[in-house]
């Protein structure tokens, strides 16, 4: 790899200390067994079909038009959306507006390795998937020849980061008052054999991605983004290997999970509107007060003038 002269670089041969620790190379079975305890509960105490609780807020970045922050326990994602700008380097007129997405992992976001500063394949794939999910959601005909920039920064990766990114982007677009057809929500699940882990953590995803070579069990990760009012799937990504039955089942589970998120999103957006409205009202009141004081002064002066 060519050296990056625009940053400070460490020595070329440096490796994470974790590969020298005892539990770095664990056999597949051990990793798998660690995921569930004797009661069939997951490591963080959730049931298999239980999604993590979500924390989300808008108006996170003061410099952006719209922004949001979404947290699924340890998975933390920031998103900001900027004003539409003319599509750079384009000769032809494009009838529909474009959406430019960039997903970036923080260098310290992954538990297994340090992320490179330059965009890698995974980030590119996530950006493409995010754009795919957002394109059918945004009313693109309203801003022809313009593009909206959507930037995602993943601060910490503990599974389901594509789903978190799509949710964050949906909220940020709404915060930026970009016209959309519907609220977009997203959720993912991991399949290992007959077990379905809703909203998987990084450890669960890791096991689901690799599988024993000789066994023929289903394994993999499915992420779906859904427009709940229109009942449309805007993006669907699957890796691993599963039969059709398993995929159909996954779709049904994800549909329900995505719909569960919608009321939360609505609440955040409504609160946002109320908050902005109150702020505006307060500013207006203050302005009125000032004007009144000014008018009073004017009256006084007028009286002085007429008296004088």
């Amino acid at each position: 790899m060519p050296l990056d002269y625009r940053r400070f670089n460490g020595p070329e041969d440096s490796v994470s200390y974790k590969i020298y620790t005892k539990d770095y190379i664990k056999p597949y079975e051990e990793r798998y067994n660690e995921l569930l305890d004797e009661n069939g509960l997951r490591k963080d105490g959730r049931a298999l079909n239980e999604a993590r609780s979500m924390f989300a807020r808008t108006d996170m970045v003061s410099q952006a038009k719209g922004s949001s922050y979404v947290e699924f326990k340890k998975t933390k994602v920031v998103c900001s959306v900027f004003d539409p700008r003319e599509i750079p380097h384009q000769n032809e007129f494009s009838q529909l507006g474009q959406i430019f997405c960039e997903v970036k992992f923080a260098p310290f976001s992954c538990p297994r390795k340090r992320r490179p500063h330059a965009p890698d394949n995974e980030e590119r794939a996530l950006s493409v998937a995010l754009r795919q999910a957002l394109e059918p959601t945004v009313c693109r005909h309203l801003f022809p020849n313009y593009q909206i920039d959507v930037f995602i920064y993943i601060l910490e990766h503990d599974g389901s980061c594509l789903a978190a990114a799509i949710n964050a982007a949906g909220l940020a677009l709404a915060d930026a008052a970009v016209p959309m057809y519907d609220i977009i929500t997203s959720c993912s699940l991991a399949v290992i054999g007959d077990k379905v882990f809703v909203d998987p953590t990084e450890a669960e995803e890791h096991v689901a991605k690799t599988s024993l070579e000789d066994s023929n069990i289903n394994h993999g990760i499915v992420t779906m983004s859904f427009l709940s009012e229109l009942k449309q799937i805007s993006d669907f990504t699957q890796v691993g290997s599963m039969d059709v039955e398993c995929i159909t089942k996954a779709m049904e589970v994800l549909e329900v999970e995505c719909e569960k998120l919608v009321p939360n999103f609505q609440r955040i957006m409504v609160m946002n509107v109320i908050h902005n409205f109150e702020q505006r009202k307060r500013l207006d009141d203050e302005a009125k007060e000032r004007e009144e004081a000014l008018n009073k002064k004017m009256e006084e002066w007028k009286q002085l003038m007429s008296a004088g």
Partner: protein, 310 residues
């Protein structure tokens, strides 16, 4: 697809045809257009293939190299896909235009080949934790006439089927270093097991139905397509007698992705996956037969070459 203009009536004609499972060129919704496939076209590559589907022309070469396995996967080899969209293929690829498409195709292939059910990386292991084979799969798109994903996946599977890996005669351990001795005889080599390799099927949504291998006219009627990667059936890649003794395998999805700015309803989506399964099965069977015939011709006599590179 520059200069392709369809009136709304023409579009309606195509949509209605698809609804009745009868397309304007006479195919049904799961029929492919005729293809030409040839393997072993590049003499310097370990395996190669060239595929032509309608106007789409693809050349795939496989290069083998010795590498050190990843520390967390000591017993597995490595695969790397690289797609190059030649600027000649279509005017849109000029400059950096083809880069994004190339990235998304190589990413889809990577995902499709990720599962051990699709391709077993253990066969590329030489010495656990020390040495393994790394396969560089270079895909060159010479001409782009639509339906790239399907064509590329067929070409890749054919090229991998054609790939020969030299036998390792002896392994000497000298302290921490490994010294490999490869066989000198170029014919002393093994073929890879790629029978379960995935094929990508692109399903183009037109109206409520989906079609495979859309023509340019059909593509302009659709806003979204689905790419489904489906693992192969090893039965199709052995002779009929051997196949009788093999257990039945269930076909699996190893990758699903969406392309294009539209969205689909869940019902259409499910139907599309099932349709993709059927299409992939037919395609896999045809590919198996063609590849077996090709291999036989290669070994039995000097085959007559049709290609342009010889």
């Amino acid at each position: 697809m520059a200069g392709l203009l369809l009136s709304s009536t023409e579009k309606v004609f195509i949509i209605h045809g698809v609804q009745d499972d009868y397309r304007s060129d006479g195919r049904s919704n799961i029929d492919y257009r005729p293809m030409e496939l040839e393997t072993d076209v590049v003499s310097h590559a370990s395996g190669s293939s060239r595929l032509r589907l309608a106007n789409t022309d693809i050349l795939v070469g496989v290069k083998t190299e010795i590498d050190v396995p990843k520390p967390d996967k000591p017993g597995l080899g490595k695969l790397e896909f690289f797609v190059d969209c030649s600027a000649n293929a279509t005017p849109e690829f000029e400059g950096r235009g083809g880069e994004q498409l190339a990235n998304s195709i190589s990413n889809m292939l990577e995902r499709a080949y990720h599962s051990p059910h699709a391709f077993n990386l253990k066969q590329l292991c030489i010495l656990e934790g020390k040495q393994c084979w790394k396969l560089y799969i270079d895909i060159l798109i010479l001409e782009c006439g639509g339906n790239l994903c399907d064509a590329v996946s067929l070409g890749v599977k054919a090229a991998l089927f054609n790939t020969r890996i030299p036998f390792v005669k002896a392994v000497l351990m000298d302290g921490g270093n490994v010294d490999l001795q490869l066989s000198d005889d170029p014919y002393d080599c093994k073929y890879l097991d790629v029978a379960s390799g995935p094929l990508l099927v692109t399903l183009c949504k037109i109206g409520d139905k989906c079609v495979v291998d859309p023509s340019a006219e059909e593509e302009s009627c659709s806003v979204v397509s689905l790419v489904v990667g489906i693992t192969g059936n090893p039965k199709f890649y052995v002779t009929a007698e051997e196949a009788k003794n093999m257990p039945d395998v269930e076909l699996k999805c190893s990758m699903i992705g969406m392309n294009g700015p539209g969205s689909v309803a869940p019902k259409t989506f499910k139907d599309a996956i099932n349709q993709g399964m059927v299409a992939a099965k037919c395609l896999d069977k045809a590919l198996g037969q063609a590849l077996l015939r090709e291999r036989q011709e290669n070994t039995s006599f000097k085959k007559h070459s049709y290609g342009f590179l010889k």
